[in-house]
């Protein structure tokens, strides 16, 4: 990415420890030594561990902000308080939440228009694998994220062999959305890490003999190590702590054990491999055509419900039920304007120009619950008048609630005038339809007849779930006998006849 708007491509990199590095490109095409990005308080940006940054303009102020995924503490936004050429990072990162106020979680966050409605959605990869999609229910300059919809199932931690074949992306997923095959449908690229084992050929007679000879030596070293560990643990909680000499003996025993362990592993009949793959999830073409890739059902990108052209403009109508409340339909009217032409968001008093004015024609049974809002900022009229021009694209959204079935269509009208520098076309009113309100098949819910046919169908599961090896309710709890933080041996039998709770936490001294 071009960090400082100087026309060359720099590199932004996250890191395991949580800082974000900038590798700036110089004029001769070399990269400078990486440096931390600092916030305006002078401290390195840090939102968690194992971070991945993405730079994009989140608040439509013309500069690039950062969205940072972290391994375990969520997705954050760091606003740029400087400019496109001289970024200055806000001292406090903002946690990204869904519209319902829930934390958005993910080790890797990527903004892209996943459903083809012209709005940047949030696609999130995760430490434990899988990919989810948060649909943008707001605008591009003020996103509002829907609940997470699964695009790729979470990776099951079941042990898999190389010979099982590759069944889909694994853990620690990193995501990117792009139209890989140029078919006009966006596809999903997923990077991962996977641990697969391989069965090796049987040992030769000599190797078997060597392995057998090694085993008692290895067992002895293992026992010696655990004996030292026990001695060490016996000092835990006592005054003076663990003597250095005991620690040193423990470390020496571990070193000896590790050497032998490596030799024993060399004779193992299986071998572990760490893989980092990039998976391509291609979207199937609409109308059920088959497409390459690991896909179980077809997906179609959102198409407009209705559209009409007028001169250098095209008006498209999109609509979709909200994820939280399907009786509410979000309606979006998008006017696309050819190069060199403009419309008016506001006009100077008594100018005679006609500003864009959307309206709804609602039958009984449908009510407007959120009035039209214009998502396009526009630019001031160059001639110095008080008007605001909109070029390229003008967008309006509103929300309606479906209350009862209707025979009449829900219609949207847009009145506007389009001009170039020399002439204005006569003001025009385009009228588009969303269809009437009908009952959903087999459910009490209502839908708009035309909208339902246009809704995207998403792949819910691309990877067959292999189940999980995690202990499930109803299974007999494994027994244990382990040392606690006071050096006391605790066994499952101590808790016999009682209800108890076992909590696995990643590491002492870390939150949660």
């Amino acid at each position: 990415m071009d960090y400082d708007g100087d026309g060359d491509l720099d590199i932004l990199s996250g890191s395991y420890t949580g800082e974000v590095y900038l590798f700036e490109r110089t004029q001769d095409g070399q990269f400078l030594q990486g440096r931390y990005l600092l916030n305006t308080a002078g401290t390195p940006l840090k939102t968690g561990t194992s971070v991945t940054p993405e730079a994009l303009d989140m608040d439509a102020d013309g500069d690039l902000d950062l969205v940072i995924g972290t391994r375990s503490s969520g997705v954050f936004m760091v606003l740029n308080e400087g400019s496109r050429r001289e970024p200055r990072w806000a001292p406090e990162p903002t946690r990204l939440l869904t519209a319902a106020g829930e934390r958005i979680e993910g080790s890797n966050a990527h903004h892209a228009d996943w459903d083809g409605d012209g709005l940047r959605d949030l696609i999130v990869g995760n430490e434990s694998g899988g990919v989810v999609w948060h649909r943008n229910l707001g605008h591009n300059d003020s996103p509002s994220y829907g609940v997470a919809a699964t695009l790729v199932e979470t990776y099951s931690c079941q042990r898999r062999s190389e010979s099982d074949g590759r069944s889909g992306s694994g853990s620690r997923t990193k995501v990117h959305v792009t139209d890989w095959n140029g078919d006009g449908l966006v596809d999903l690229l997923v990077g991962d890490v996977q641990f697969l084992y391989e069965s090796l050929p049987p040992l030769t007679r000599e190797e078997t003999a060597a392995a057998l000879a090694l085993q008692p030596v290895y067992d002895a070293a293992k026992e010696a190590y655990w004996a030292e560990v026990e001695v060490r643990d016996s000092y835990v909680g006592k005054p003076g702590g663990i003597p250095d000499e005991v620690k040193a003996r423990c470390a020496a025993a571990l070193e000896k054990f590790n050497l032998l362990l490596a030799q024993v592993i060399a004779f193992d009949s299986t071998k572990e491999h760490i893989h980092g793959w990039v998976w391509l999830y291609l979207r199937a073409a609409p109308e059920g055509q088959s497409a390459a890739g690991q896909i179980e059902s077809s997906v179609s990108v959102r198409r407009p419900v209705d559209q009409e052209e007028y001169g250098p403009t095209k008006l498209e109508l999109f609509a979709s039920p909200l994820q939280q409340d399907e009786s509410v339909v979000r309606v979006r009217a998008r006017l696309t304007i050819e190069d060199g032409w403009h419309t008016y968001k506001t006009v100077p008093a008594a100018s005679g120009y006609v500003p864009m004015q959307p309206s709804l024609d609602l039958p009984t049974g449908v009510e407007l619950i959120r009035d039209w809002q214009c998502a396009s900022k526009g630019v001031p009229d160059r001639s110095g008048g008080a008007g605001i021009w909109v070029r390229d694209q003008a967008e309006f959204t509103c929300e309606v609630r479906l209350l009862e079935e209707t025979d009449e269509d829900v219609a949207v009208q847009l009145e506007f005038q389009v001009c170039d520098h020399n002439l204005c076309l006569p003001p025009q009113t385009l009228r588009l339809s969303l269809g009437n309100v009908v009952r959903k098949a087999g459910s009490p819910g209502l839908r708009l007849a035309k909208v339902d046919a246009m809704l995207p169908r998403f792949v819910k599961r691309w990877i067959p779930s292999k189940g999980s090896s995690i202990m499930a309710p109803g299974m007999t709890a494994p027994e244990f006998s382990l040392t606690d933080d006071q050096g006391v041996q605790r066994s499952s039998s101590d808790f016999a006849g009682q209800r108890y709770l076992l909590w696995f936490y990643p590491k002492a001294g870390t939150p949660g």
Binding site: S72, R103, E105, S128, C157, Q158, R159, F195, V229, R232, D233, V236, G237, G241, I242, E272, S468, S469, I470, M471, A472, P473, G474, M475, T476, A477, P478, F480, L482, T483, D484, D485, Q486, G487, V488, R490, S492, F495, A496, G497, Q498, R499, Y500, L501, L502, W503, F504, Y505, P506, K507, A508, G509, P511, G512
Partner: protein
Amino acid sequence: MSFDSPEANRSFAEKNGFEFPLLSDEKRELALAYGACPESDARFPARLTFVIGPDGIVEQSIETKDPAGQAQAILDLLD
């Protein structure tokens, strides 16, 4: 339950005033048995919580999605 040494757990417990024992599963045996890690050389166990009944049968198996917010939910389950 973690893969830390008893010593590391002790300082963790003292720092936070935990009133429950922190167990060291340095050999990863219990974590493997519970499916909390895939390999005996795993660096960390997954954040999992299990409620075991008086009869030694697993009653609840909970995957932590939100470390900060889950404690109360689990306490509610135990009530």
